[in-house]
Amino acid sequence: MRLFAILMLAVTTPAVAQDPTDLVARGVSAYEGLELDAAAGLFRRALTPPLADSLGQKEQARALSYLGAIELLRERRDSAMAVFRRLVLFDPRYRADTYVFPPEVTRLFDDVRLRTRVVAIRVPGDTVLPLQQGRLVVWLFPSAPHDVAIAIAREDGRPLRTLYAGPLGDSLQVRWDGRDSTGALAPRGRLWLTTASRTGAVTERLVQLPLEFEVAVDTVAHAAAPGPGPLASERANRRTARRSLASGLLIGAAAVLLPQVVAPGERSSGTRLAVGGTLAVSGLVGYLAQPRGQPPVVAAQRRSQVVIATSFRIRTTGRTTVIERGERAR
């Protein structure tokens, strides 16, 4: 029995001592009892990896705020500023609680926050959106109002699409339709959502969030019923081809005849013939380049194999990283 009790103590005591939530709670008690050195030790232990990794975001931010306050009260102002800076970078939305901390602490925190310009990004962890109307909604929260540029970048860092560039006040919602700046679908695979905090033309800090971009494809469920005639598909293609030819010839003729309509009697230059000829030739090329069409049975068989892009999926694949000016990206 005695041996069992000794074994239980041996197992449970280190576990309790290494529980970061417990360390934070004990640190708060020590702070309230003005045992500042002991409190600082407890918070530092709780915030040191790997213990810090098992601490929730709220708890980590709380621990950092207490640690910063303790360092200031211990008259270590530089150390307090470094802790508050770490807190702002960790959670740009955090605000010091004026009911908990004395005014000199909240003042110093606000001072550090206003000088440490960084943006918090909020996006859905995993979302599937329709290709036509879908938009990824991104919320941005700055530590303090400043100029930002938000963009989607390729895996190698090359920009794909700028979503917003300008001042960011309290918060901002931007939307992305899964396309690049030319309107084409973004490439599948790893992308970056980046926000650059800028002072003038200088990028002070970059926040990056890794995204995985996938395009879902689907097959056409059922072949459409054949048209009224046995050669409906051929007729449709030929109609399109004839329309191209007719449009080219008509617009080309209109170009040639424009002077007679607009300025009859004037001697017009021959340049209109170049444009009219190009239009007519384009129509002819459109006519000849049109697919000839397949027999309806073959078309129906193949139609079930046609794949079309229907939706895109975006999921976050990691945490945001903050890159300071001068640091090498990724």
Binding site: A184, V262, R272, V275
Partner: protein
């Protein structure tokens, strides 16, 4: 009457543009042009002909069905300088048709004087796909709702014009090329003046959404 027409044009442009600008993601396009200009004039001094090759540019922003477009060309027309700018707003009621209104200002500058022609336009344009979505053709006609020119008289002012062109959109590239022919005639009967200007334009552009 002229002021009424201008007011209606400006109001239409404002209504067309302001609301959609706030609601839509713009589709932007711009390009640089080389323009061959041929001008024929009839005046008190008899008929005149001049031609020149000039540089220009255009920029366009589309918000859904609405469009704002600006164009500018400048260069030498033999012994005189030629400057032309145009700003218009338009609406696509259907994908293949486009209605536009706007103002076109043109100046012939010589060492002794500057002759200005300002036209308020209303026009339509039709477009058609010629080779898939890669090559498109278009033709349009416009008429001047109002015209002012410092040529000594305000009697019998009229202007009209048209343009036809073919545009090649490079596949998988944001670039485009356009070849266009445009002609317009503006006249002030009271001053016995008539100006016909032909433009042959090659534009290289880039688009972005």
């Amino acid at each position: 009457m002229t002021w009424l027409i201008r007011w209606v044009s400006v109001s239409f442009a404002t209504v067309c543009v302001v609301g959609p600008i706030a609601a839509q993601t713009p589709f932007l396009s711009g390009g640089a042009s080389i323009v061959s200009v041929h001008s024929q004039g009839v005046g008190i001094g008899g008929p005149t002909r001049a031609s020149g090759t000039m540089l220009g540019g255009m920029a366009m922003a589309r918000f859904g069905r609405f469009e704002v477009e600006g164009r500018y060309i400048q260069g030498a027309l033999q012994s005189q300088d030629f400057v032309q700018g145009q700003l218009g707003v338009g609406f696509h009621p259907v994908p293949w048709a486009y209605a536009q209104t706007g103002a076109r200002a043109r100046a012939y500058v010589t060492p002794t004087e500057t002759e200005r022609w300002v036209m308020w336009l209303l026009g339509v344009r039709v477009e058609a796909a010629l080779v898939g979505t890669t090559v498109r053709g278009d033709v349009g006609l416009w008429r001047a709702l109002a015209l002012s020119a410092n040529v000594g008289s305000t009697e019998g002012r009229a202007a009209r014009g048209g343009e036809a062109g073919v545009t090649l959109h490079l596949p998988d590239r944001p670039m485009w090329l356009r070849l266009a022919y445009g002609i317009d005639r503006a006249s002030v009967a009271g001053a016995a003046r008539r100006e016909t200007v032909e433009e042959f334009t090659l534009t290289v552009g880039i688009q972005r959404r």
